[in-house]
């Protein structure tokens, strides 16, 4: 018997992306693709591309894909997963997409406990449209629609999605990671693997928030932007696992797990 020398080319398409130099969208794509390969679920995985810089993600993955409208990826994911529970479904979303226009969709997708995985790329800015303020833009951070820096009196404080979603009572896996340096990327991949595994095991909703760079719209050269991320974003957006389906809730509520109602015959 001969051994296979060439394996499946993998879940990442062999094409050049349009991402700017120093942008971490590409690294995150690669990790997601590797995990889909490692879990052996390529033939039954469906991705959902967002509206944002990753809008063309369907060209970069060697997988069947849906392109969603702005912010609606969790609803599209729900639609697919409920139609075909045997499929692995992941949504890839930016911070404007998920935390602003799609805030309702992500909250309710998580709260229904849809068994899908969301890869949430937080770069604290609207990348694609040219650097406007996002709900995640840091206090004082300059963006084209807050030229003197985010004023928390007017715009409120940045939304911490991982923390917010982990307050939901429904079991889930919620984590935050970063990929700006190799050691962080190793952890990020572990979290992504855990997230996809929960789906594979038909356990729960999973979301990994990944801090990401946008040198172009931050107006910071690529090398410095990883430093900027570490110095400014990580203190506000702490890394780690916020919630596991079998772990303690962050704030345990004095209610018992929901049970199925008994029906009379």
């Amino acid at each position: 018997m001969s051994e296979a020398v060439f394996k499946n080319p993998g879940s990442l398409a062999d094409v050049q992306t349009h991402y700017c130099p120093g942008c971490t969208h590409g690294v995150i794509h690669r990790m997601v693709a590797e995990i889909v390969d490692e879990l052996g679920v390529k033939e039954r995985t469906i991705g959902i591309a967002p509206v944002g810089c990753a809008v063309l993600a369907y060209n970069y993955f060697n997988l069947d894909f849906h392109e969603a409208s702005h912010g609606r990826a969790p609803a599209v994911a729900t639609g697919i997963k409920r139609a075909r529970p045997d499929l692995m479904v992941f949504a890839y979303q930016g911070d404007g997409d998920l935390a602003s226009i799609g805030a309702a969709e992500i909250v309710h997708c998580a709260n229904r406990g849809e068994k899908v995985t969301v890869v949430f790329v937080n770069n604290a800015i609207y990348g694609m449209t040219g650097g406007q303020m996002a709900p995640t833009t840091l206090p004082g951070q300059i963006a084209t629609t807050c030229p003197t820096g985010r004023d928390t009196d007017l715009a409120g404080f940045p939304i911490r999605i991982a923390e917010m979603l982990s307050t939901l009572r429904t079991p889930a896996f919620i984590a935050r990671a970063s990929v700006h340096k190799p050691i962080y990327a190793v952890h990020a991949k572990q979290m992504l693997r855990e997230a996809f595994t929960y789906q594979k095991d038909d356990r729960c909703f999973s979301l990994v928030e990944i801090l990401s760079t946008c040198p172009t719209n931050w107006g910071i050269p690529p090398a410095e932007s990883t430093e900027w991320l570490e110095k400014n974003m990580i203190p506000y957006y702490p890394l780690g696992v916020f919630k596991r389906p079998d772990g303690e809730d962050r704030a345990p509520l004095p209610i018992r797990p929901a049970r199925r109602p008994h029906h009379a015959e």
């Binding site: 995985t45 849906h66 969603a68 609606r72 599209v76 697919i80 997963k81």
Partner: protein, 362 residues
């Protein structure tokens, strides 16, 4: 199957089930709550799934995802909810996804009221959302016809890979009438395998990408031409209408659709007793619209009367059909007020007596 007395809303739900729809995503809004309620208990019986979404925005995007995976899916709503769905409707039209949408129209604009209306005709037939797209729009006038059109709608949606809208009003939803579901119903179109659906890429076919984004303008124009060719095909093959009393001589031709046409047919009977000759044409497909049939039916008439539960929306298509060759009169009620047979009779008599003012051409 024997005839069964059913509410319009339930008949619509059951028709979808009979057509093989196992998925329903919806959000409550009066006057169509009975459809999601029916589906929430009926679908689990057949191994299907009902999801109450957090909004119509979400419900319609769930539909987009489910349709993209090749399953038969439906949602229903009423006017304000359909407004929220127009984003996804445009995306589904652009991505060529087959879905069935039911709009049980209520009076607007804004929150309006909860009583029957036909004021979403423009929204349904002329777009509603952004971009050059069309829905195939079918308007039933009875519970039986609603059930039949829903089943046909699934076949048409699959055949054309296009959203189909069933446009009813609050009366259709609430009315109870006998309905029959034919056990051995055959699809009205030859249905092909959905090889375009995103069901997982195993290398045996090209990758499936459910998408309406084409950044290259020449490619997008080509895509638009393809959509337009499809709409032209619908216009050629899918026009539906019925005529009443057009085999005899008549002075007045009534044009009405949906439950309003039933009111008009009652008026016609009474007019006949009074010796006034009127006929009626009832468009069933609102897109594609039966322009040619209306033009022909108007040949024998001295004048045409359009009756709608709106300020006059379909009348614009009737004008296009008649190209100024016949005087057109209009009777409309709004806000959830219904047109009565007496009102329609009165209007016809006024037209005959030269007392009704023609609709001005603006």
């Amino acid at each position: 199957m024997a005839k069964k007395l059913m509410k319009g809303s339930e008949a619509i739900g059951e028709a979808a089930v009979q057509a093989g729809c196992k998925l329903f995503y919806g959000y409550p809004i009066t006057p169509q709550n009975e459809i999601p309620e029916y589906m929430s208990h009926r679908l689990p019986q057949i191994g299907g799934t009902f999801v109450q979404a957090e909004s119509e925005v979400s419900a319609s995007n769930m539909l987009y995802g489910a349709a993209g995976s090749g399953e038969r899916v439906m949602t229903s709503s009423s006017s304000p909810g359909i407004s929220l769905m127009t984003e996804a409707i445009s995306y589904m039209a652009g991505s060529e996804l087959p879905v069935v949408l039911v709009n049980i129209m209520r009076a607007g604009p804004g929150l309006g009221g909860i009583l029957p209306s036909q004021a979403d005709y423009f929204q349904a037939t002329k777009g509603g959302g952004h971009g050059d797209y069309r829905l195939l729009v079918l308007a039933p006038w009875s519970v039986q016809e609603a059930a039949d059109l829903v089943q046909d709608g699934f076949d048409l949606a699959d055949h054309y890979r296009n959203p189909v809208m069933i446009l009813g009003d609050g009366l259709i939803g609430q009315m109870m009438e006998p309905v029959e579901f034919h056990k051995d119903r055959k699809p009205i179109k030859e249905l092909k395998e959905k090889i375009w659906a995103a069901t997982g890429y195993d290398g045996t076919r090209p990758r499936a990408i459910i998408n309406s984004l084409f950044l290259d303008p020449a490619t997008l124009e080509k895509h638009n031409h393809k959509l337009q060719a499809k709409y032209a095909e619908m216009t050629r093959d899918e026009i539906r209408y019925e005529t009443y009393g057009t085999d005899k001589d008549y002075d007045i031709l009534i044009v009405a659709y949906g439950t309003v046409a039933r009111v008009c047919s009652t008026a016609m009977e009474d007019l006949e007793a009074d010796g006034i000759k009127a006929a009626m044409i009832r468009p069933i497909s609102l897109f594609p619209f039966p322009y040619e049939a209306i033009r022909k039916a108007a040949d024998k008439a001295d004048a045409v009367l359009v009756v709608e539960l709106s300020a006059g929306q379909m009348i614009e298509d009737v004008r296009l059909a008649l190209e100024g060759n016949k005087p057109i009169h209009f009777h409309g009620r709004m806000g959830g007020m219904l047109a009565s047979p007496e009102e329609v009779m009165e209007k016809v008599k006024e037209i005959k007596a030269g007392k009704s003012q023609e609709v001005s051409h603006v």
